[in-house]
């Protein structure tokens, strides 16, 4: 068989695989379009350095960076489900004298812990950088608030990731779906630009976005001088606690999607 024929055969095989993977197909098209719509609008209309405190965008970005760290970490931790499945360890875990939910809980708690520690490490590094000006308006309580916000966000994201992992068979598909859902959520969560100057439709989307409330907690705990222009801690915690617990319990109650 000629090299050209071999290449053609491989091309055909890979195209067929993509066409069969609807999650991959839709995600790869929808993601850039959503990025364009949300990030483009946000940058055009919301990202004016003079709109953040003292024009200090780097300090403004710290809470968003922490949220992004939790997001990445939760996604990668949950992807270990696929690694465990592929190397066969998952079948051994599921054949142990424990319910599948116990195994899932152990893995999810690992994801929450790893995500939490990584995010707080980023916060510690940011706080140590002289040019970054964090207000810590609540003093030591602010640290507790930041830790709580990070852990709640990690719970929410790990729960959601478990739900996705139960439905998507391949790790590639999992990453695509996570990216498709989570990146747009991150972009209009107030992590990268203030929400108050956004157009109404984008602001409405932001308030329907659970990550917005985690970013709001982190802004209030770490960055903000006062509560003006923010959603506020009572609402943030009420929404985030409810959603994080719901997502986590949903994730834990799922079937593993895998038969040892």
């Amino acid at each position: 068989m000629s090299a050209a024929a071999a290449c053609a055969a491989l091309l055909q095989r890979d195209i067929r695989a993509v066409l069969r993977s609807r999650s991959q197909l839709y995600s790869s098209m929808l993601f850039p379009l959503m990025l364009l719509a949300i990030l483009g609008t946000g940058v055009s209309e919301g990202l004016d350095p003079t709109l953040v405190r003292d024009g200090d965008y780097a300090s403004f970005l710290v809470p968003g960076t922490i949220a992004m760290t939790v997001l990445f970490s939760s996604t990668f931790s949950s992807a270990s489900y696929y690694q465990d499945r592929d190397c066969g360890l998952l079948r051994v875990l599921l054949a142990s004298p424990h319910e599948p939910q116990v195994i899932l809980l152990g893995k999810a708690l690992a994801g929450v812990s790893i995500g939490g520690v990584q995010a707080l490490a980023v916060l510690a590094v940011a706080a140590a950088v002289p040019s970054i000006d964090l207000e810590w308006q609540y003093g030591a309580v602010g640290v507790v608030l930041a830790v709580a916000g990070v852990l709640l966000l990690a719970l929410l994201l790990n729960g959601f990731a478990q739900v996705v992992a139960a439905r998507i068979r391949t790790m590639q598909g999992f990453h695509l779906v996570m990216n498709l859902v989570l990146f747009p959520l991150l972009f209009f969560s107030g992590a990268f630009f203030p929400l108050e100057h956004l157009p109404g439709w984008l602001k409405a989307l932001a308030y329907a976005n659970p990550i917005t409330y985690a970013v709001d907690i982190l802004h209030l705990a770490v960055y903000a001088e006062d509560a003006g222009g923010y959603i506020g801690l009572p609402v943030d915690f009420a929404v985030l606690v409810s959603l994080a617990l719901a997502a986590f319990l949903w994730g834990m109650s799922r079937r593993t999607g895998y038969q040892p």
Binding site: C87, G88, L89, R91, V92, A95, S96, P97, H98, P260
Partner: protein, 347 residues
């Protein structure tokens, strides 16, 4: 031992049979024997793409005496692995009853069962020691007792020097031995083995079985699913022939082979006919004939006399002949009417 006549199925006048699906059971273990496992009228089906249901087990009834090394012998796709997963409580039967160690399978009962999967099931990024530590923790072991147990097991499977090595650096045989150590770690009462020696060289296989038989002598019951005749014949007290999800026969290897002559002859002979079967079956020293197109299988007193005579009768119609001492595989072919090597194709 009752023998199938097969007349109705093949039209052959006598002793040739085609495929035999009725259960043949040699004298069982005494009724008073405590059972490690018992399945009654067990069926299991699963969905395949296209919405179709495939029957993996079809009304299987089987008893595994406590303390036995019990073999499940059948080709690939015969339902052996499915049966093991049902015994381990990893699947729920579609119909029938399963009792393991006197109880219905449950998550908690798995603490008393060790399961060695057919495929390697190790995290390549963990060390051998960490692999056993994780397993021990899952089975409620801990502290110094766990570390001592890990050390002793790694020593017994010849991996003491590799305790700190990543699994990815171990050879295939070492990985299998590590998996065996993992199975033995919680001292299971029932050990379920799914083709444990596939891919192992003879030395590694012997070492693995030495350790398994040690556990058996210490009281563990072993259920071995395999399509390796020698392995079942050498190590098992009792063997069940599984064919298309059904029990075709069950008994001690010697009992299952009782009706066989000394030599087994496999003849590839597309032109074989009922008339020839009648003629050959009447020859002196010829035991049972079994025919599954295009293979004629016979056990005979002396292949050295039988084969030349066969060529005289067949002329150039014979494509190939294989001769060896009769084994359980011949008993399997006799009873089931299919080769252990047929696998999924037989379904």
């Amino acid at each position: 031992m009752p023998r199938p006549s097969g007349r109705g199925a093949t039209g052959f006048p006598f002793p040739v049979s085609r495929c035999y699906h009725e259960r043949v059971t040699t004298p069982a273990a005494p009724a008073t024997t405590e059972l490690a496992a018992r399945v009654q009228d067990l069926s299991f089906s699963y969905a395949v793409p296209g919405g179709e249901e495939r029957l993996a087990l079809d009304g299987l009834t089987l008893e595994v005496p406590a303390g036995a090394v019990f073999g499940l012998l059948g080709p690939n796709g015969s339902g052996k692995s499915t049966l093991l997963s049902l015994l381990a409580g990893l699947r729920q039967p579609s119909a029938g009853e399963v009792r393991v160690l006197g109880q219905p399978p449950s998550t908690a009962l798995r603490a008393r069962i060790g399961l060695l999967f057919q495929e390697t099931s190790l995290d390549p990024l963990m060390t051998a020691g960490e692999t056993l530590w994780l397993h021990g923790r899952l089975y409620g072991l801990g502290g110094r007792a766990l570390h001592e147990r890990i050390g002793a097991l790694l020593e017994s499977v010849g991996l003491a020097e590799r305790a700190g090595s990543f699994v990815s650096t171990l050879s295939g045989g070492m990985k299998r031995r590590l998996e065996l150590a993992r199975v033995l770690l919680p001292s299971p009462e029932l050990i379920l083995l799914d083709e444990p020696t596939t891919g192992l060289d003879p030395d590694a296989e012997a070492a693995l079985w030495a350790r398994l038989l040690e556990a058996n002598r210490a009281g563990a019951t072993i259920v071995l699913a395999t399509n390796k005749v020698n392995e079942a014949e050498r190590h098992c007290d009792r063997v069940a022939f599984i064919h298309r999800g059904r029990l075709a026969a069950e008994g001690a290897p010697a009992e299952l082979k009782a009706g066989l002559k000394r030599d087994a002859v496999w003849v590839e002979w597309p032109g074989f006919t009922p008339a020839l079967a009648e003629e050959i079956g009447a020859w002196e020293g010829v035991g049972r004939l079994t025919w599954a197109h295009p293979t004629l299988h016979a056990t005979v007193d002396a292949a050295s006399a039988f084969v030349p005579r066969l060529f005289q009768a067949a002329g150039d119609g014979i494509r190939a002949v294989r001769i060896r001492e009769s084994t359980l595989e011949d008993a399997y072919f006799d009873i089931v009417g299919a080769s252990l090597a047929d696998g999924e194709a037989a379904r």
